[in-house]
Symmetry: C2
Subunit: 139 residues, 2 copies
């Protein structure tokens, strides 16, 4: 379903550079961060000029929460997962985006946060494509 | 308004130890983290045995988002604030809790995340009380 409020949405080039496209949901563009250390989705509301969570109107905010729940379900269905971290930081890239990250108790940052943990380790093209397929298959 | 689903809610002792009480809102207990480096609220849904955001039912999830928005408003009204970070991690304390943190571009962790940044610097009792009063005064 198209929404006139999508007009003017443009993905920040840094987010585009670091991620692979998974899907456009009703509100958010859903991206896979290209870091094989952590199964990591990034949800970007397709609205113009948003920075903070509460720049969304309340109905989009409710929709965002719904899509965060769906992203959690997809991660659980597609990857090993002991805990899920959800965060909206935006200190570097200001365009509103929400991280939804599958954590394992033996991952490279456990139990610390995933942000600011040094350079990403890109997936091989095959591994990335396989994970994207698994994620998309979770309804 | 009391809710029977509050029965069995008990605040994790580590959260209790690190924070000061601000208020009970409809869903969440609202706490101030005792770290003068960052004006930092912690929202804890008063429900039993929750770990992940999507352990809440959808109506509580919508309510949580509403209370996150209100926490953001209170921080902006009570503290200097260039950006707000929102996160639900729970890697160490598993009881579901949401961090809502006012960030300044010259704060001790900028532009990195606030989590895992070494020991907290407690407020003086006077500064803590003054901040709590300012927070409570934002409707």
């Amino acid at each position: 379903m198209s929404d006139s409020r999508e007009a003017g949405f443009e993905l920040d080039p840094r987010l585009a550079h670091d991620t692979a496209f998974i899907a456009d949901w009703q509100l958010c563009r859903v991206l896979l961060l290209d870091d094989a250390r952590f199964p990591w989705l990034v949800l970007v509301p397709r609205r113009e000029a948003l920075v903070e969570v509460d720049d969304l109107d309340e109905s989009d905010n409710t929709r965002l929460m719904h899509e965060i729940r769906h992203a959690m379900k997809q991660l659980r269905g597609a990857a090993e997962c002991d805990k899920i971290n959800v965060g909206a930081l935006g200190n570097i890239v200001r365009q509103l985006h929400v991280h939804v990250v599958a954590r394992r108790e033996r991952d490279a940052a456990w139990p610390g946060p995933v942000w600011g943990r040094g350079p990403a380790q890109p997936y091989s093209p095959e591994a990335r494509e396989a994970l994207i397929m698994r994620l998309r298959s979770v309804q």
